[in-house]
Symmetry: C2
Subunit: 157 residues, 2 copies
C-alpha cells in the first residue's frame, strides 16, 4: 500500500510502550492484597486482568512473528505484585524485538490470532492496545473505590 503515512510503525510502538508504562504504574499503585482479591460487581481482580494482558501482548506478537496459531492461556502462575511487575518488565524488550520483526508490508495481511481471531495484523495490534486501555481503566475504578489516586492518564513517560 503506497500512500501517505499517517502513523509510522515506530510511532505505533512508541504509543504502545507509553501505554505499557502507564499500566505498569497502575499495577504499582495497588496494595498487594487488593491486587489479588479486590473486585467490583463480580469482575476479575486487577491481577487477573493483568494476566490477561500478559497472555495477549508478548504471546500474541510471538504468534504473529512465528506464524504459530496457539491458543492463549490467561491462567499464568504469578502470585505476587513483584512477580507481575517482573513479568511485565521481562516482556517489554521481547515486545520491542518481536514488533520490529513484523515487516511493514505484512500489517494488512490476515493473521488468525490465537487460532481464533482472523483479522489484519494492524487490527490485531490495535486490539492489544485497546484491550490494555480498557482493562487498565477498570483498575483505575478499583483504585478510586479503594481510596487511592490512580496515575495520570495522560502520563505515558
Amino acid at each position: 500500500m503506497s500512500t501517505t503515512v499517517i502513523l509510522t510503525k515506530a510511532e505505533f510502538l512508541t504509543h504502545w510502550l507509553g501505554h505499557r508504562a502507564l499500566t505498569r504504574r497502575t499495577i504499582e499503585k495497588f496494595p498487594e492484597p487488593d491486587l489479588f482479591s479486590y473486585n467490583i460487581g463480580g469482575m476479575r481482580t486487577f491481577a487477573d486482568l493483568i494476566k490477561e494482558l500478559l497472555s495477549i501482548a508478548e504471546p500474541g506478537l510471538r504468534g504473529i512473528v512465528q506464524q504459530k496459531e496457539e491458543p492463549y492461556n490467561h491462567d499464568i502462575p504469578l502470585n505476587t505484585k513483584a512477580d507481575l511487575l517482573a513479568r511485565w518488565d521481562e516482556d517489554t524488550p521481547k515486545i520491542i524485538e518481536l514488533f520490529g520483526q513484523i515487516p511493514e508490508e505484512d500489517f494488512h495481511k490476515d493473521y488468525n490470532l490465537f487460532g481464533e481471531y482472523k483479522f489484519p495484523i494492524y487490527s490485531n495490534l490495535l486490539y492489544f492496545v485497546d484491550n490494555e486501555i480498557h482493562h487498565r481503566a477498570q483498575g483505575f475504578v478499583y483504585l478510586r473505590a479503594l481510596g487511592i489516586e490512580p496515575p495520570f492518564f495522560w502520563d505515558r513517560g
Copy 2:
C-alpha cells in the same frame, strides 16, 4: 513521509467509529437515573464522562480542521439519556465529515489542541480514541456494579 502504510486514514476512521458504536451501546445500557447519579469512589457520573467525550471528539476535530485553538468545555447542558444519545448521533456524521478534511500530509504536523496540548495531529487523534476507551471502560464497571451486563467489548458493529 513515504514508506509503507501500516494503517490507512480510512482504517483509522473505521476503527474510531467502531468504538463510537460501542460507546453508544454502553450509554443505552444505563438506567436513566443511574446515568446521571451513579458513581464509584467519588468519580464522575457516566453522563459526565460522556459529556467529556462529546466535548473532545467533534469540537477537537473542528479545531484541527479550522485551525482554531479554542478551549474545551465539558459542561454541556444535556440532561437526559435521549439528549446524550441524540448529540452522540448528531456528532458522528460531523466527525466523518471533519476527519475527511484533514489531509494525510498533515497528520504529522503539530496542532495545539484546545490551545493547550501541542502534539502531532495523529497523536491528538489517538488520544481521542484512547480517552473514549478509558472512560467507557469505567462505565463498564459502573454497569457491573449495578448488576447490568455491559455490551461485548469486541463488538464494534
